[in-house]
């Protein structure tokens, strides 16, 4: 398994108190689902909504986009989103009544059938909260038997501690959910995977995990990208798969996703808020913040002592995150971190001396330098398996000539898609 130990910077936010920021005057629900803005809008200006009301439905996979506050739809507004692009959002005025949509048929958490389980996942728009934004129900809606469930709480990118904070405060809820998912889907083994260096948390989990004999705690070394599904499956189960974990009868879920499943199963409640790590040397207070989905980032930043100057805003971690041009940014469910860094001078790329470090470190076993060289040759790019790139950014990180290899590979991926 390839990877590298990165400087963590986790002390900045780890074990500091969570700031709750759940009373924004307006929320901006982004009309994007699983990286697709192809959605069917279900409301009009002036509609009254409650928490969990359907705002739009994705045409791509039928997943709903739900409201995180109760109030009135005012208008559409353009905002920056996690991918660094401007997207359309629905602006909702909060009436601070915290009304939920009415639900029925609440059962005990593990008494649902598999069919009900999948439809709940679908109805509550449960998506991968680790960043991928992939619909979770698709992972379970399969004919292949699922034997292993892996709960990914590795959080391998530097700075980020949001999953850690969530897990620390909700261990019993998360274990209960894992157990329920196992019962519903008849899964035999579950592994809760966290990093070796989180000793306090490991101790805490060990105290309670005894009542769930089927759930095992598995610890992994602090290397990046340990949180990548393929690496976890390899490390925990010693198994290799080609494209998807289900090939080795395994489902991998992020720990935050599990928590959103918990709320959906237990209370049939939409997870209207999430924990975001707001961190960096460009901000006074680095904290984990609990915010409503759709909150305007600038409000949160003001609260934490942010001064408008030459700063760099990044949605996500330092390795895989994307720069956002302004703090006019809306928090989507898959935003786990906003990084605020002082700007540094760009390194001027040097000539590639073919040291081969990028090829030696690539966790997907690609050859970034060769991909860069044949970027305009889609046939060759296909043979180089460029579609397997996970955009972890290690090639750009490691390059001694400071060549932005990741961007070339991402461009190459695009070129292959366009050539089809």
């Amino acid at each position: 398994m390839r990877g590298i130990k990165l400087k963590g910077y986790r002390k900045l936010t780890k074990d500091k108190e969570i700031i709750t920021f759940d009373k924004p005057k307006y929320v901006y629900i982004p009309l994007i689902c699983s990286n697709s803005t192809d959605v069917e809008i279900k409301i009009r200006r002036g509609s009254n909504v409650k928490i969990g009301s359907v705002i739009a439905i994705s045409n791509k996979n039928g997943l709903p986009i739900l409201s995180s506050v109760s109030g009135t739809v005012i208008d559409y507004e353009d905002k920056y989103a996690y991918n660094g692009e401007i997207i359309k959002t629905v602006k909702i005025e909060n009436n601070f009544k915290e009304e939920y949509i009415e639900v029925s048929d609440i059962k005990e958490i593990d008494k649902y059938t598999k069919k009900e389980f999948i439809s709940i996942l679908k109805d509550f728009g449960i998506r991968g909260l680790g960043g991928a934004d992939f619909p979770t129900y698709i992972k379970y809606d399969t004919k292949t038997s699922i034997k292993n469930l892996i709960i990914n709480a590795v959080e391998c990118e530097p700075y980020i501690t949001s999953d850690y904070t969530l897990l620390k405060d909700n261990i019993s809820e998360i274990l209960e959910t894992i157990d329920a998912i196992m019962t519903i889907n008849k899964i035999h083994n579950a592994y809760l995977v966290i990093k070796k260096d989180k000793k306090k948390l490991i101790k805490k989990i060990k105290e309670v995990i005894g009542s769930y004999p089927k759930i095992k705690l598995s610890t992994v070394p602090d290397i990046y990208p340990m949180g990548w599904e393929k690496n976890i499956v390899n490390y925990v189960l010693h198994k290799n798969y080609d494209r998807l974990p289900i090939e080795v009868n395994t489902v991998v879920n992020n720990v935050s996703t599990i928590y959103s499943i918990y709320e959906a199963l237990k209370y049939k409640k939409y997870m209207d808020s999430r924990i975001v790590t707001i961190v960096g040397d460009g901000i006074k207070k680095s904290r984990n913040v609990k915010v409503k989905i759709g909150t305007d980032l600038s409000l949160v930043l003001e609260e934490l002592g942010y001064k408008k100057k030459e700063l760099l805003l990044i949605s996500g971690g330092p390795m895989m995150g994307r720069a956002i041009e302004s703090e006019n940014f809306t928090i989507t469910p898959n935003v786990n971190c906003v990084l605020i860094l002082k700007t540094t001078e760009n390194d001027i790329p040097n000539v590639c001396m073919r040291c081969g470090k990028c090829a030696a470190i690539c966790p997907a076993k690609l050859s970034p330098v060769l991909i860069k060289e044949s970027i305009n040759d889609p046939k060759e790019l296909k043979k180089l398996n460029v579609d397997r790139c996970v955009e972890c950014g290690l090639c750009s990180y490691i390059c001694p000539a400071k060549i932005m290899l990741r961007n070339s590979v991402v461009q190459a991926k695009k070129n292959v898609r366009d050539a089809k």
Binding site: L6, K7, P158, K308, K309, E310, L311, L312, L313, I314, P318, M319, M320, G321, R322, A323, I324, E325, S326, E327, L339, L341, T343, N346, D347, N350, V351, C352, M353, R354, C355, G356, K357, C358, A359, A360, K365, L366, S367, V369, L370, K383, L384, N385, R388, G393, S396, Y397, I398, C399, P400, A401, K402, M404, R406, N407
Partner: protein
Amino acid sequence: MNIDTKLGPYMKSNDTTFKMMRRLIISLIPIVLFSVYKNGVLPYLKGYTNFFGMLYPLVFIILGCMSTLVTEEIFLIVFKKKKGNELLDSIKDGYGIIPGLFLSLVLPINTPLAILFIGGIFALLIGKMIYGGFGYNIFNPALIGAIFVITCYGTLISTNGGYINRLELDTVSSATPLTNVNLVNDISYDTLVKPYGGISSFLIGTIPGALGETSSILIILAFIYLTITKTIKWRIPTSYILTFILMVSLYSCITNMGTWYILFEVLSGGLLFGAVFMATDPVTSPVTPKGQILYGMALGLMTFLIRYLTSYPEGVMTSILFMNVFVLFFDKIGSRIEYNKKYYIFYIVMILVIIGLGTYIGIKNIPNEEVDLDYNIVDIEDNDGIKKYTVIQKGFGGDIKSLITFDSKGIKSIEILDHYESEDRYKMVMDEKLLNKIIENQNNVSNVDTVSGATISSNAIKKMVENTINAYIKDTGVTIKNNSIEIISKEYNKDAILYVIRLSSFNGKMDLQVVMKNNTIRTIIPLKYNDTCISETNKSEYYTCPEYLDQDYINKLIINQNNLDSVDTVSGATISSKALKEAVTYMKEEGLNG
């Protein structure tokens, strides 16, 4: 709102190309210092050279660096129209120095400075700049320069002294260890390793060789440093050396050479230096990890083949330059192999070829040991160093049974116990004192003439003794010394030794005076002998016969004392000249042992 957006990732390793180059140079510093010590300081301390001679290796290396640096800067000024800061930057990044540094480290110390400089210019222009400069060249520039110098000026350099520094000229030998493999006729620890003082000299680096290539231990340390700091592609030297070791081990297993031979082959001929510093030149080696392993295997294979199939000494350099051509091919395999298992076929083929060739060349080189079906050992008796062999050999009429006794000096006696030869023949053999002649010439039994009229019987007896000697050597490991040569006197004169030896020649005994210094024969003067030649005019007893004992022939023997095979015997005086040749061999051995 003023936000500087740039491309991710927003963390970068703090390693840079410049730092990598700096680490490479740091790793070379101990090697350079050792080279200056070995080739400059040590000869100076022992009084073999003057003060300039002490600094010469340093001057040599600095000039090498300057040759490529100056060429690069001039090239940039003339063709790329660079000025001021740009030029300064190109000096600072150090890319210009490295080819020259390597060039000076792989060339013989006696390369004239002017040729070194020309080599540097050639290396940079032909090896690097015509491809577009750093990062674009196909061949390793330093190796291009080195091969250019060695092929064009090789003779000039070797008449100038080749790889041998002043000190080694007087003490060690006349050749690098690897060239010796082609010179000596029996490859053994004594001929290849002992003259240099054992394997430890190979590790420390006090053997003749190119400036930077000799100290194996420093090269290994540099490799460890460079691997830990992730500066070089460690997979290449690893698979290169392992492949080479595998092949040499197979060879040495089959030919019964022993471990010293594997170490000898790995530690000589600049293999380690080439593998660690030359084969890993980033620009001219594969970028993919699996491609690098395959590349190293190909290099090991080719170096082995060059060493065992040709007498060409620059096997490492040539293999690396040759494989440079195929770097793209190795990368192609290396980049596809991860998701397309059929490319593993290249690995399998390579491993099979390596094992196959290692075994084949080993088998080809097994010394011819014919088993004589007519020979049988009946009994061996060992009594305090005296070994008695009761043996049977098929003769003309039936089995000849004999008792052959060895003591520490070799065969002491031969007794025929039983035979079925006709009495006439047996008598003829005994009358000719064949057994005595055999004992006298026991180191070369085949030289003994057969008894005419009883050829088959006398051949059978000769064969029997030869077979028994082989068995004795196999049993005890003791070699049979030339019995026909004895040392009459031995006199020490400062560091020279004056011997008088007596040997049997064409017509009785012959006395020679031999002067040896540092295991090297300096003079041979015939003192007394009965050999006569066809000359009719002078019949005095002691007289120099110009035909076979002339000074020319003796000089030839002295000059070629390490490679006696190349000296032909004088026709018309075959036995006398053979005897002299044997005397030289004997004295060389004597010099080594005593």
